[in-house]
């Protein structure tokens, strides 16, 4: 289906995408949409997700959830300024797919977020969590 003039092997693309990831991990988000090969590479090299954009939390964290599904090797997540709807909270994506995460940073949570419940679920679902950094949480 594709008419490729010249091809680069997957390990060459990995080297190139790695360089982009050094500058900005989140740039891999759109690169993962380019083709299946890029998705598998970004999946492999991507270890940290910074969810600092409002878009991540739109429609009950839809985008955040999809990012977790897309990047399977995440070791570190940072949720910044999350805004959750009435029904959804951060548990929804986390309990599904973040079993391997070792470090997590939560900051600037909105006041309404159900904290105790969230943290209890965090503890029970993210078994490998070694570091949890919370910044600017007004409810604690």
């Amino acid at each position: 289906m594709k008419h490729r003039r010249k091809e680069l092997s997957e390990d060459c693309w990995e080297l190139i995408l790695n360089r982009l990831a050094i500058d900005d991990f989140n740039s891999l988000q759109s690169l993962s949409l380019v083709c299946k090969q890029f998705l598998s590479i970004t999946d492999r090299i991507r270890l940290k997700l910074e969810a600092s954009d409002r878009l991540f939390y739109r429609n009950n964290c839809d985008a955040l959830f999809r990012s977790f599904q897309r990047f399977r090797n995440l070791k570190e997540i940072e949720l910044r300024d999350p805004i959750f709807g009435d029904k959804a909270d951060v548990n929804y994506p986390i309990q599904e797919s973040l079993l391997e995460v070792r470090s997590s940073i939560l900051s600037n949570f909105a006041l309404k977020t159900p904290f105790t419940k969230t943290f209890m679920k965090l503890g029970s679902t993210m078994k490998n969590l070694k570091i949890l950094r919370c910044c600017l949480l007004e409810c604690l």
């Binding site: 289906m1 594709k2 008419h3 490729r4 003039r5 010249k6 091809e7 680069l8 092997s9 390990d11 060459c12 080297l15 190139i16 995408l17 790695n18 360089r19 982009l20 500058d23 740039s27 988000q29 759109s30 690169l31 949409l33 380019v34 083709c35 878009l55 839809d62 985008a63 999809r66």
Partner: protein, 155 residues
């Protein structure tokens, strides 16, 4: 050929049969060739399959420059690198493949950095067309399927 010349020079033969006489110090900038020389499994002529004469000449040019200018200012070398990697995409891809295959680290680093900078900030469609050789009609017709598969959210 005198034995003293042979000792310090190696002959690299490209995939299309052309031979290049290069100093050993230059040739061993390729880790793959270095390993062959160290293990003494290389005769004087080292075949470099998968790399044609045109690309091999470029790789040798790069290695020679880096070998000569070790003492020179790093900024000079940087200017040379940026001019060297400023090539058409096909040549770039060939060079990357060759550098990766023969394990020439400096060259590979410079080339990958260049392609990374070319990709930076480009849209998904742009990358597909420019770097992966997709045709426009494929993107238009497969867009619907892509949207479902990727569940696009950001662009």
């Amino acid at each position: 050929m005198s034995s003293s010349l042979e000792k310090n020079m190696l002959i690299l033969r490209s995939s299309d049969g052309e031979e290049f006489i290069v100093p050993e110090v230059v040739a061993v900038m390729s880790k793959a060739i270095k390993n062959m020389v160290e293990d003494e499994c290389a005769s004087n002529t080292i075949p470099v399959p998968n790399v044609d004469a045109n690309i091999l000449a470029m790789v040798i040019e790069f290695c020679k420059k880096h070998d000569e200018s070790e003492a020179e200012a790093a900024s000079d070398l940087k200017t040379f690198d940026s001019e060297f990697v400023n090539r058409g995409q096909e040549a770039l891809y060939d060079l990357i493949t060759a550098a990766n295959f023969r394990d020439v680290k400096e060259l590979l680093d410079a080339l990958c950095q260049n392609v990374a900078e070319m990709i930076k900030g480009k849209s998904v469609h742009h990358i597909r067309i420019q770097f992966l050789g997709y045709q426009l009609f494929e993107i238009l017709t497969s867009n619907f399927i892509w949207n479902i598969w990727c569940d696009r959210d950001f662009d």
